[in-house]
């Protein structure tokens, strides 16, 4: 081996010297390492490698004409490692000096060929690149695991939540917990089932963003019109439930209902849009039952709510005002309360 080849092997361990016929006259140590069972010297380069870009290079003369251009090569046999290459006229001969690099195929290549530090030139950034690939994938793994754990924790938290995320009101689960507690200590309370009227139209006409703002505003009004010890819950899209703890009288609950109806009727302005809704209310008193049960209370409040809607929007109906068997419903006009 000449001193020049020695130097080239150190600086470009993946180079090859070709003669004018495209026959490999010398192969750098790392290039040769890729096919340990096949002596590269003496073989035609185009027999071993296919030029994938530029296309149509299938003879030594074609290769010679590509001097100075970036070439893309690929091993013809497996593993079909891809390379980037550039060739220049061989300074000491008539052939070509071609230098190869792995390019992006490096991550597979180091695995396929069990390459080590010694296989790369000291100035080659491959080692740094591989370091980064490993360090980044270790960091990504840790991030992914953290994300999975956080997602699990969020799912559990949502499952256990007693608050409605949109309005900050109590949700159905929280409502049932409160009602059980009230019933367990023989508390007296009124259950008001409130459905928004015309909310669907607001959603359709002004979009969900405005719809969400309306729901938040409704929640706020309901809190303002009740006391701290009362419960305001959102139990469905536009369905709310109020639990009035130890109401002073039927009239007091009627007044709450009347104020709600009147305040929710006021137009709400959001940016340039104005929404107009109203609400229908059906109520029951726990004191109307010997042993109040949550399911029964909801059922009767629903019946009252249904009657209220049938009587026209913006009404408040008490279950005890309804005649048995649901005939000849008497509905009090809320404006007269």
């Amino acid at each position: 081996m000449t001193a020049r080849e020695d130097s080239m092997d150190l600086i470009c361990p993946m180079h090859a010297i070709l003669d004018t016929d495209g026959i490999i006259r010398h192969a750098g140590p790392t290039l040769q390492k890729l096919r340990p069972d096949t002596g590269m010297v003496g073989r035609r380069i185009l027999e071993m490698f296919e030029v994938t870009r530029p296309q149509g290079i299938d003879c030594a003369a074609g290769l010679m004409a590509m001097r100075g251009r970036t070439l893309h090569l690929r091993f013809r046999d497996a593993p079909h490692t891809a390379f980037k290459a550039v060739s220049v006229p061989d300074p000491s001969g008539t052939g070509l000096l071609i230098n190869l690099s792995f390019g992006i195929s490096i991550v597979e290549a180091v695995q396929d060929y069990a390459l080590t530090h010694a296989d790369f030139a000291a100035t080659d950034l491959t080692i740094e690149l591989l370091y980064l690939v490993e360090a980044k994938s270790a960091a990504m793994d840790a991030s992914r695991r953290l994300n999975q754990r956080l997602r699990g924790a969020r799912d559990i938290a949502e499952e256990q939540a007693v608050t409605d995320a949109l309005t900050g009101l109590t949700n159905r689960r929280g409502l049932e917990v409160m009602m059980k507690r009230l019933i367990a200590r023989n508390g007296r309370f009124a259950l008001m089932q409130v459905d928004l009227d015309f909310f669907k139209q607001v959603n359709d006409r002004l979009g969900h963003d405005v719809g969400d703002q309306v729901l938040r505003r409704v929640g706020q009004i309901m809190r303002e019109e009740t006391r701290d010890r009362d419960v305001v819950a959102r139990v469905g899209g536009d369905e709310f439930v109020l639990i009035i703890d130890s109401p002073v009288s039927v009239v007091a609950v009627e007044q709450i209902g009347a104020r709600l109806i009147s305040r929710l009727r006021e137009p709400m302005a959001f940016d340039r849009e104005t929404s107009r809704i109203s609400c229908s209310i059906g109520s029951v008193f726990s004191s109307d039952y010997d042993a109040p049960e949550i399911a029964q209370l909801f059922k009767d409040a629903d019946i009252a709510l249904y009657a209220s809607k049938n009587a026209g929007r913006g009404r408040h109906v008490f279950h005890h005002q309804l005649k048995p068997a649901g005939t000849g419903v008497h509905v009090k006009d809320p404006t007269n309360v």
């Binding site: 290549a109 530090h117 840790a142």
Partner: protein
Amino acid sequence: MHGLINKGIERFVIDTYGQTTWLEVAGQARLGFTEFEAMLTYEPCLTDRMLATIAERLRRPREAVLEDFGTFLVASPSLPAIRRLMRFGGVTYQDFLHSLDELSDRVRLAMDDLILPQLTLIEQGQGQFRLRCKPGLEGFGHVMVGVLRAMADDYGALAVLDHHGYGEQGEEIAIAIVQDPFSEGKTFELGVRCA
């Protein structure tokens, strides 16, 4: 303190002394939880309390605990990534020592919020070196003694290491390579197939 460091200490205690010991440490150090997250950041006082509790429970000086932790980082099969990343530093143990100057930059390239003290290797000839750790992470020098010892083993080099205490410029470690290499060491290939 970066969660990765805390998580490493947690892993070290669990793998070396068992889950029960770790849960006791977490309780006694009033961490408020039993598992660190590698990708979050924690108050430095948590790490201090945790290390003090470990040292107290194991009846070992804090420095010795940190050194064992350093060895664990490299030698433990449960954290193969660290040993591999260190081995990217060079072909021989000497190459590796020279790569330590870049360690904090390399680490920051991979995780920009993990700041390690700058290391400087000073060559003194005949296999004698001094490694200076800039201040900022007290006890980092002791961890590095453990790391350097385990890496010498990995490279098959025989090195004598000595922590020279804390000075104005930080901590200093004396390194003497007695023989390099005295045995084959472990192999290191740049690419490993993931299982």
